[in-house]
Symmetry: C2
Subunit: 256 residues, 2 copies
């Protein structure tokens, strides 16, 4: 029985600059049902309203309130723990974190700063980490690399690993495949984890991450999916679907 749905965005709803065929209508069917849903993404280069805008440009009727990002999770974590962040994040996200910053930061937040990663910006973050034994390193992802139009590029995980190595601290990861991140999304839906289906194209980050957090999972064969990926799934009863349209049909048939 499924009582809620969590969906990945890139590779599931769209690939590159185009919606996956049938995806817009499939999301419409989900939205016309009574099943609560939300979209989750690790991207930390764009604000919620930028993500909303680009989804609407593609033809999806999705609003920012339906999207849960690693940045949203990080802001909630900082608030819940009363932490003042030193934020090394993308220029697009600096305003979101600026409100929480203070002269005596007691946490370091890492996002995908892209060209914002320099020796000096990393060293400033390092020094804040070393100032307090309890100062946590909070990172919006732990991916090694991602595919860009001109080749593979370093992802946030590499810079997280650099600061972990230098500081001797283990980062708190906000984003897939972190269990806490999935549970925060489930909480947003008002469901229990085992009632919620995660739909994604990344067998590790989406599918095994969700299964580890106690959710159900469906792997779609679009986006990042490569033949044989299903062999790496850590469960026997994971759903497989050709694409998001088939996935939504399977999920809605199991809802009530």
């Amino acid at each position: 029985m499924i009582q809620g749905v969590v969906l990945d965005l890139s590779g599931v709803l769209y690939v590159g600059d185009a919606a996956v065929p049938g995806a817009i209508e499939a999301i419409g069917r989900l939205q016309n049902s009574t099943v609560p849903y939300c979209f989750i993404t690790n991207t930390s280069r764009r604000t919620l309203s930028m993500i909303e805008h680009s989804l609407q440009q593609l033809g999806f009727d999705i609003v920012a309130d339906d999207i849960f990002t690693a940045a949203t999770a990080t802001l909630a974590y900082l608030n819940d723990h009363g932490l003042i962040p030193h934020a090394l994040v993308h220029a697009n996200l600096q305003d979101d974190f600026a409100q929480l910053q203070g002269v005596q930061p007691n946490a370091v937040v890492l996002g995908d700063a892209a060209q914002g990663f320099t020796y000096d910006s990393l060293n400033r973050a390092f020094r804040v980490l070393m100032r307090g034994a309890d100062t946590p390193l909070i990172s919006m992802g732990y991916n090694r690399y991602f595919m860009e139009s001109d080749g593979l590029s370093l992802d946030l995980g590499a810079f997280t690993a650099a600061l972990e190595f230098a500081s001797g601290k283990q980062a708190i990861i906000m984003g897939k495949p972190s269990k806490d991140f999935f549970l925060q999304a489930v909480d947003k839906l008002g469901c229990e984890p085992q009632q919620v289906m995660m739909i994604g194209d990344d067998v590790e980050s989406d599918v095994n991450g969700a299964l580890h957090a106690g959710l159900q999972a469906c792997l779609v064969k679009t986006g990042k999916y490569r033949e044989g990926d299903e062999d790496s799934i850590n469960a026997d009863d994971c759903l497989l679907a050709a694409d998001i349209a088939e996935a939504i049909d399977q999920v809605l048939a199991r809802c009530h």
Copy 2:
């Protein structure tokens, strides 16, 4: 019986901008003996001639030929293995590596590039690493951080760890405490490891590194030394000396 001496520079011959009291005369006594010696350092921000110049400014009669650096070891390794490097190194060392570079690099060399570490420079190095499964990552050090006048700063190890994490490769470390690095220095003296005494102020990098490589070791209580460091020595018969002057006297008394 000691037939050769290897010495660390910073913290042993000088601390900050000043020679350790008695160090200039002690090095003179070593130079007037018939015992072969060399100085080793991990620094990869300065060329041999820059190091020579600053030692001579301090009053030491030391020439570049007597100094063995991680960069020297790296250049030798590249030559021995016929490797064409993509070098992400400090501006001061770029000329040294430029001679070996080519259009199809098959190795990545990391030095302490300092402000030369940017997203783009690290990403270029990452892409070279990912192009060939056999392309090695060679790094001139693995230290986490070092002390600067205004606080702790990220050292080369952090950036090495970032590229190791992203590429899934383990770096070949050229510099202390690497066993190979000590053995190259010993080889330069024409001695067997067990005949050679290493004198240093860093219990891990100098002393335990040398002992692991089969050398003898002497810890001096200057520079980086902190009370109790001797408790971390991995041997029972390591020499202890108040400073380089006492260390040289102990070593020369054991030479013949």
